[in-house]
Symmetry: none
Subunit: 205 residues, 4 copies
DNA sequence: GATGAATGAGCTTTCATTCAT
DNA sequence: CATGAATGAAAGCTCATTCAT
């Protein structure tokens, strides 16, 4: 009985935590981290100010939770997608496809990642950079594999990986800010072509 | 006489403004916008707190001035470099070269552009975006020209331009955060090759 | 039947009240009144936060109950001891002996009385003072008796009584704070001698 | 010129600091440390809340300054008085006289020392205890001297010193709380007699 | 009765901005 | 013109108290 109670309680608590994170994501995406007061955040979540502190010990921890959660979400999806492929170029494309789809589906996440959090606080700065780095590293690993197979002309895989990720980042960011390019799907295909050519993939076949 | 006086006064005022902006650039690059109090800023500029307000009506205006100034600096240099060339690819390269050199020479500017300001405040957000956009637009214009000459296979020049700028941005940002790639000059050359290939330039010759 | 029920209920309630007071005494003695949150207090008593409020309408009332209880305990013990003696000096000594023993046995009480509560809140301030006053008054009454018997040279019994009580208070307080004098039993005997001499008792025999 | 300016400025600042301390002393004496909000304190000093923080980095530092200041005041006066005498008993009396007069003249100080600060915060608790200890130590030193001269029967000078100081403390405290004994001067004389007898001084002559 | 999550008033502290000197 | 002390709104956070379960 007591066990059930605890189980239900924990479930409830987890749900509340998610509710708060959801509200926080939205308002942070809209107003930014510094631009959001804990009072406003609580109002968005339709709870009292103090209640937030029952679930997150302070504002920074809340934000960190959000970033960590997004990190996990993103990497899990990408990992799952990658596992479906063996070929280096396919894995590379799968990663980008997954990443793209996640950001398109959850614009809130994209806004926080690309627009709101950078520059606010060195803690988050580093965290975000770490996430971006993770993507770069995966890309670089794929490129190294391809290079080992003699399928890439380029020597410095770091530069290529950064260029690869950076170009996607820029298109996404531009889209979030301007709503352009309108047909993101087509743009995305062009972008892939651009990068594959950049990597020297065109010469392969 | 009165005229001369005003002229001299304005000149003096402009000089003081520049002094403040210089100090502000440095301290903002180091501590960030939110992390810098007006008092600390004034101390850095070796003036009294209130004096800042004689030249800039508030903190935001000061920051805007900095961004605007950097904007002008950057675009002037790029423009000058571009004028030396006629060929589309040359102009494109000249732009990037100039841009790269400016950021390398003035890391303060780079830090403010890429690291400190984003995400802090929607006003600056927009301003920065506008600058990035300017670079993208010029790039796009160059690409359009090249396309008109039949030297580019790609249709959507916006995507290419974004990819182009984004890849540079990413390498620079990574360098600022991690100090990698250590040999930025070589990396830059590789990066240019990557993008030229991406644009389909390799097929031309 | 109903009567029995109520009786049992009241008994139960009284027991619970005592449990809470016991926990509160300990934690207040350790962390102080202001330093103890109702949540921490409830945890110490192994009940829910809200439950405390079923027995005490608020924090202040709880603290008052503690002080009152300590008051009753102390005075009851002293009264019992005093009844064993007839002679004024004997009664005086009996009072002090009892008081001393109670504080030594229940350091918690001593800490609350002498260290934690004073200065926190004027309500308790007054209550504590009232308790101290009670001791002073009894002492004074004894002294008055002795004076009436011509066994005391001093006229102002209030001053003597205050000096008497104050000297004990100081030794106890010092002991609680510093652990000195180490041999409290001997110190106590010296202290009694000091005060008896102070009262002019030495001249009697 | 600049020197003068700084001198005047420092003087002004010192004056303001004193003003704030004065207001703080009064309101702390009245409402206690915890019972006083920084806002209320600022209002009492007729300045804005933030202004307090120009002079004291936080509430605790302000309170510490007050306690330290009172400490210095008290000890300076006592020291000066003691220097006028050579004989142990005279020095002892001089100390007490001085202490008594200070507290009588500055009831605010007495209230903070004896009534408001104890129990509030272990930092102040310790500081106050240290002050009381200082008095006890001086007393003890005097007693040791007298003992060495064979003028004191008692062996444990710590107990005597504590009794001595404690009896004065109690009378003062009672007076502050109750306004009794009304004729404090006479009471004080009786108190001295009580303690001199307690020390065994009566037997000397 | 018992619970403990929820509340929100109130705290200390910061800092952009003002203005008397 | 320049100063920097003064301002006070607003922030993050705590915790005594309440109340739906």
């Amino acid at each position: 009985m007591a066990y059930r109670e605890t189980e239900r309680t924990q479930e409830k608590m987890a749900r509340k935590k998610r509710d708060i994170i959801k509200a926080a994501r939205e308002i942070f995406a809209e107003k930014g981290y510094q631009g959001t007061s804990m009072k406003a955040l609580a109002q968005k979540a339709k709870i009292a100010t103090g209640t937030v502190y029952l679930y997150f010990s302070n504002k920074e921890v809340l934000m960190s939770s959000i970033v960590d959660e997004m990190f996990r979400e993103l990497l899990t999806i990408i990992k799952n997608e990658r596992e479906k492929y063996c070929d280096g170029f396919d894995k590379l494309q799968a990663s980008m496809d997954a990443c793209f789809r996640v950001f398109m589906k959850e614009k809130t996440m994209a806004r926080i990642f690309l627009v709101q959090v950078p520059g606010v606080n060195s803690t988050f700065q580093k965290k975000l950079h770490q996430i971006e780095n993770e993507l770069v590293l995966w890309t670089q690993k794929d490129l190294e594999e391809l290079k080992a197979e003699g399928r890439l002309p380029e020597k410095d895989t770091l530069v290529s990986a950064l260029a690869f990720v950076g170009s996607f980042r820029q298109v996404l960011f531009h889209y979030l800010m301007e709503g352009e390019p309108q047909d993101l799907e087509t743009a995305y295909i062009d972008l892939k072509k651009y990068n594959l050519r950049g990597l020297g993939h065109g010469h392969e076949s």
